[in-house]
Symmetry: C2
Subunit: 472 residues, 2 copies
Amino acid sequence: MTSNSPEYIQALSRVVTRENLITHMSNMNTAVKKYGRDQIADERYAHDPDVVVFPNSTEQVQDVLRIADRYGVPVTPRGAGTGLSGGAVPVSGGIVLSLERMNRILQIDPSNLTATVEPGVVTRDLDTELKPYGLFFAGYPMSEEICTIGGNVAENAGGGRAVKYGVTGTYVLGLDAVLPDGRAMSLGGKRLKDVTGYDLMKRIIGSEGTLAVITKIHLRLLPRPHASETMLALFNSTRTAISAIPEAIRSSGVNPASVEFMDSTCARSACSLTGDELPIGESGAVLLFEVDGTDRTTVHSELRKLAAVLEGLGARIERERSAEDNERFWNIRKKVPWALKRMGSDQSLEDISLPIAALAPMMERLAEIAVQYGIHIPSFGHAADGNLHCNPIRPESMTQETWRSILPEALADIYNAAKTLGGTISGEHGIGHKRKRYVRQVLDPVALDIMRSIKRTIDPKGILNPGKIFPD
Amino acid sequence: MTSNSPEYIQALSRVVTRENLITHMSNMNTAVKKYGRDQIADERYAHDPDVVVFPNSTEQVQDVLRIADRYGVPVTPRGAGTGLSGGAVPVSGGIVLSLERMNRILQIDPSNLTATVEPGVVTRDLDTELKPYGLFFAGYPMSEEICTIGGNVAENAGGGRAVKYGVTGTYVLGLDAVLPDGRAMSLGGKRLKDVTGYDLMKRIIGSEGTLAVITKIHLRLLPRPHASETMLALFNSTRTAISAIPEAIRSSGVNPASVEFMDSTCARSACSLTGDELPIGESGAVLLFEVDGTDRTTVHSELRKLAAVLEGLGARIERERSAEDNERFWNIRKKVPWALKRMGSDQSLEDISLPIAALAPMMERLAEIAVQYGIHIPSFGHAADGNLHCNPIRPESMTQETWRSILPEALADIYNAAKTLGGTISGEHGIGHKRKRYVRQVLDPVALDIMRSIKRTIDPKGILNPGKIFPD
């Protein structure tokens, strides 16, 4: 910060201490760069901020927003920057409001089965603190080691256990939030049920930082499962694998904690990294089932019920024989994104969401789209949630220029196929600015109109995370 | 309908057939009266409509709203009228839009684990249809034999199983809804995860028919539990009973399907109806625990774990020895409201929602308020949800005049106590017009301001269910 910095930056410097503000003009250029991107590798989605502030209280967040409101400067709230839709990228420049340093676990309250946290708490850190209490926060995504709870709430993040436990929003009981004009409000509290007025809290959850900045979160906790067990179910075809899922759940009466899906390419690529071998052939598919519960006997018996149904439907089952197997099975699944990286440097990680039964026809449509554009589209994901990570990849043989020109069309085709099959373009990553141009393809135009008018009502000057969600 | 009926009624008569429209002017006066009240006994909350229409399609609902919009006539949507907050009562007269005759189960889809229904389907009827599929809709309230699913969604109704299964909104995957100006929109679909734009669906759930009229609902289904088992836990004091709940859940690792609470008055009154005897004394309390799961062995073992912890905390356990016991235990709980009716003809059934640990101090505060006003306030409810049905009752010795003058103050004191203890005034019944004057006591003023501006944005003419939720 220098004396010829813009006025609003000088105003910000009176709100936070020096170490909690970095600008282009300071010698922290590299740091500023970090706050201009998220986990999307493609540099075309990056945009540097003019200034990054790190408030450490609700009051400071209010001050920052009042300054932004006064000077008409865009504010982009940011958690850990682990998003995959550009939601935390300041596409119009201005202020990045990082919540990283508001990272205190304020209270673990076993008598109410709740935890109260600041938004910058890393998800895994909360989990570590909860263990001694025999409690857990069930709504976490798969990036739990790095993502922050505030970011999860802003995106209504999902993960691999939504089929049993639901997504992040399911566990949010209360929020403190600051509106674009700097007013703060408290919503909900440490209570499970609340029908007092409109559910503003649910409105802020998943609104990608475009309506309010979250500064405190009350979370519901569940009793921590005492046992869990996994198995792999290997199928000769994707169609058989997919249709087995609802049938297995329904006939066994067991609601598994996870049902993860890997197509043949994903499973075999991951195995080449982990050193495993899964006999599934070119057109086969793998499902990973996890069951959790109150004791080993129960969990074992429930997994056996699922296995019996799956075998009847043509699966070969690899059961967990030791804790190492559990780790080994999950390791295959978790290595998939890394294995796919070796297939090509240019990728677009998608997360379409579908009715479960539509996953199989979707996979067939993806195969056609891959052929049509001459690209790879391996797929994996949270099968029982209908949440598919299909991953367009540029093959070595295709130029980057061609890739850049065909990718938007290929994505439009993928999203259209999802829409036609009763699905939508994002189940957990959000729209951000990566997918906003496709929103019209899937959203009801009347609904989009209402969303826009709500945005205008709450943020009339359009300063909070502009350039996101809504098509230009 | 006669030729000198108001113009808007004549317009309505061109939208629906004769048997789907009743007016004051027709010879259906008694029928009209029915649509001027809900389950609140107090006649002061009733108000007759001018006309009742029964559309049978989304298009007809759109037509009705277009007419109301053109003529500026209030429209009050209505399900079965089983509400307890006056939400379905047309306080400004005009049109009651009854969804009763849109009562088709459109599809049960086992391959996607979903059901699609019209709003007028009675909750229990859906359950009956789901049984053969081994599936169930878990988000139902305790009035399942009579309430409709549309009404449950409009109120985001809860019930006795929210601790394990959540409330109605948890299971809504998609909605068709008609806006006050007659535009229809489709939100969500048969998919578990969706972060495409703002979650308008969650905004309409629980908005008490003030933002949109729901015409179709996609529901998530779960595998139907194969077994369940109940027990009663008898305590010498309310405080011990309440504090045992989170401890039992945490230590056992078991998330019960229900934990119902009855204070001594409620339990003993109910027992006098059912012919049971529960040795709890004047200041004791009863908890009813139900556990459900995939088989009898598991359920039995989980209930035993809970019982062991509860006994350690001073409970005497009455275990279920046969299916008759299960019915007997639930019968005691279900008879409580009927038993309380015998304590006095004037009552106000409340449903405050609190942090679990606040239930005990709340009970103490209720005892003080009862003494202060010279009334009875027996209490029961969904303890593990922190949802307490406290029930102010006029004693024989008090005149109706006195009762009517003190009740608003007594309610204000109860709601203030709830607020002070971290709670709110309604967990499942809603605000309607019964509680709107108290909303300012518990809602953040900034939040209330935003709620009002959202209402104005979506319903600028204020024709949809006016006079509800917002204080005058």
